[in-house]
């Protein structure tokens, strides 16, 4: 008899564990090899830490206005200086990371499932329903995302919650398109026919067999989109359609500093740099995630 089959359960479990460990190790090597991704990941981890430990890092109350201390230049007391109402910009930037992360995560949590469901459904059902849903997404895609988000935010009224809804609504079509394309590729595979011949309902096929095949490209797309989402959120804040004062939101802070830009550059610039760094971090990481998940890269 074949010797390799005479392996007990523990041995099998050990091998599986080994394979998983090897996958992680390969991922780590690929991650290390991509310097830019290392930088991106560090930035995002830093952002997460800042958001988590904001109360410890902040030196002042982010809402407290000390009017005599208006527009102070950066110093050891106020690392990033103070704004037009005498609030400590450093503390506001620190707390702002929470607002930014909340918006980015909620938009991702709303728009990706929405796009995924619509895309898989349209691709699987096909015909007139597919046509209608895709033309609808065409309408959304015809406008730049920011413009569309502004329109929705203006219609819904200002506020963080409405900004999240507005950005999500502007975002879903690209995921729907992607999911639909993947679905069309998977739908005619033999194994879908097989599962159908076993009596599976359409819902079971869509949920159990097609959606998992779409996930990896959706995840890659999402990680590349995170930067844009944050930028859009900041843009809405800047235009007064997103977070409202006195919320420490970065876009809003940039907007607040406009009137002092020439003489007190730090009011606008420092939150702006925070936006720049975070968006860059997400973009670098997104690129890297695509490379790591790509099986062709693993060969080398």
């Amino acid at each position: 008899m074949n010797v390799t089959h005479a392996i007990d359960k523990n041995e099998a479990r050990r091998r599986r564990w080994e394979a998983r460990r090897r996958y992680l190790k390969d991922s780590y090597i690929l991650w290390r090899r991509n310097r830019l991704m290392v930088v991106g990941t560090c930035i995002i981890v830093f952002l997460l830490l800042v958001a988590a430990f904001a109360p410890l890092l902040a030196t002042h109350d982010s809402y407290e206005q000390i009017l005599p201390d208006r527009l102070l230049a950066p110093s050891t007391k106020h690392y990033f200086g103070t704004d037009g109402l005498g609030r400590d910009i450093y503390s506001r930037v620190v707390y702002g990371s929470r607002v930014t992360l909340t918006i980015a995560c909620l938009v991702a949590a709303i728009s990706t499932p929405l796009g995924l469901v619509i895309g898989v459904f349209a691709g699987y059902v096909g015909g007139a329903i597919d046509e209608i849903l895709m033309r609808l997404s065409d309408v959304f895609l015809a406008f730049p995302k920011l413009i569309l988000a502004i329109a929705f935010a203006a219609a819904l009224g200002p506020g963080v919650e409405n900004a999240i809804v507005a950005i999500s609504v502007a975002n879903w079509p690209s995921y729907a398109r992607l999911a639909r394309a993947e679905t069309l590729g998977v739908r005619n595979n033999d194994y879908i026919q097989v599962i159908r011949s076993m009596g599976a309902s359409n819902l079971r096929i869509m949920v159990g067999h097609i959606t998992p095949m779409c996930l990896s490209s959706i995840i890659v797309r999402l990680s590349l989109d995170m930067g844009t989402i944050i930028l859009t959120a900041a843009g809405l804040g800047f235009l007064g359609l997103g977070a409202q004062p006195p919320t420490p939101e970065w876009g809003l802070m940039v907007s607040d500093g406009r009137q002092f830009l020439v003489d007190q550059w730090w009011v606008s610039t420092l939150p702006g740099i925070a936006i720049l760094i975070v968006v860059m971090g997400f973009n670098l990481m997104g690129d890297g995630i695509r490379d790591i998940l790509d099986p062709h890269q693993r060969q080398s």
Binding site: N2, I7, K9, A12, V194, M198, G199, A200, P212
Partner: protein, 331 residues
Amino acid sequence: MTTQPLLSVKNLKVHFYTLRGIVHALERVAFELNRQETLGLAGETGCGKSVTARAILRLIDPPGRIISGSIIFEGRDILTIDEAEVRDIRGSQISMIMQEPKMSLNPVIRVGDQVAETLLIHDRSLNRRSARRQAVDMLAQLGIPDPTRMAQRYPHELSGGMSQRIMIAMMLVTRPKLLIADEPTSALDVTIQAQILALMQTLVSEIQTSVLMITHDLGVMAETCERVAVMYAGDMVEVGSVHNVLKHPQHPYTQGLLQTVPDKANPDQPLFSIEGNVPSLLEPQTNCRFAPRCAHVMDRCKREIPPVYNLNGDHQAACFLHDGSPEAQAV
């Protein structure tokens, strides 16, 4: 016991509405399959064997359409019952093994879970854990070594033969009454083919399933089937017991088909082939489809569709050669 056949297909007609015109894929397919019987469906590529198989499960997708006919399975006409009932029959009563075992398994799901899924689809009260245990039992029954570990594997880790075993497990785990095997061995190594066939036969007799064995390999057919149906260009040309059809073929096409089998005793003999090509299926059938290639062609073959003649006992052929012969009677 009923003497009624398990499956009875009558006058099945399937057309595909393509851009080049209507493809008359099946024109006149009729056969009966008795309980615990293995019926072979023979014919060359493109003659409509697989379409027949898919039609039995009502899995013909647009642009294809089942035009007419009836498929009576256990007293119910599959072509008239509603979709939910058909879904209920698929997998639990009629299962189908496809040609390409490696393509037939979902690459991202462990094979054990795929076998278990067949059970879960048809039994809502079953929980995942016990379905998985049944799946492993099924693999063990198939003689797969170390079934627990095998169930944990992904399809890409398996060989073609092993994948086909998993497919067989998937299809038989629900103990269906009818198994449709669409060229189950043609994608496999010759050495594995015999193993897989033997395995299928043991299992089939164990759970007392009828089999519709689709193949173009007459050797496989002779070995596994009790009765044989021969198709040509969407038309049924001959039906009968495996002995009658292979030893005393009554239709010129079957005779030609049998001559194409190389003779082991005489290896230097050039390979035989039937002259001509399969006719285009774009035109509706108005004559014997085999007439242009037939050695015994008569004038009426080119004008009329030959009826099915009942020859001695359980043997039928659709050919005018039998018109007027004493034992033959038109059906």
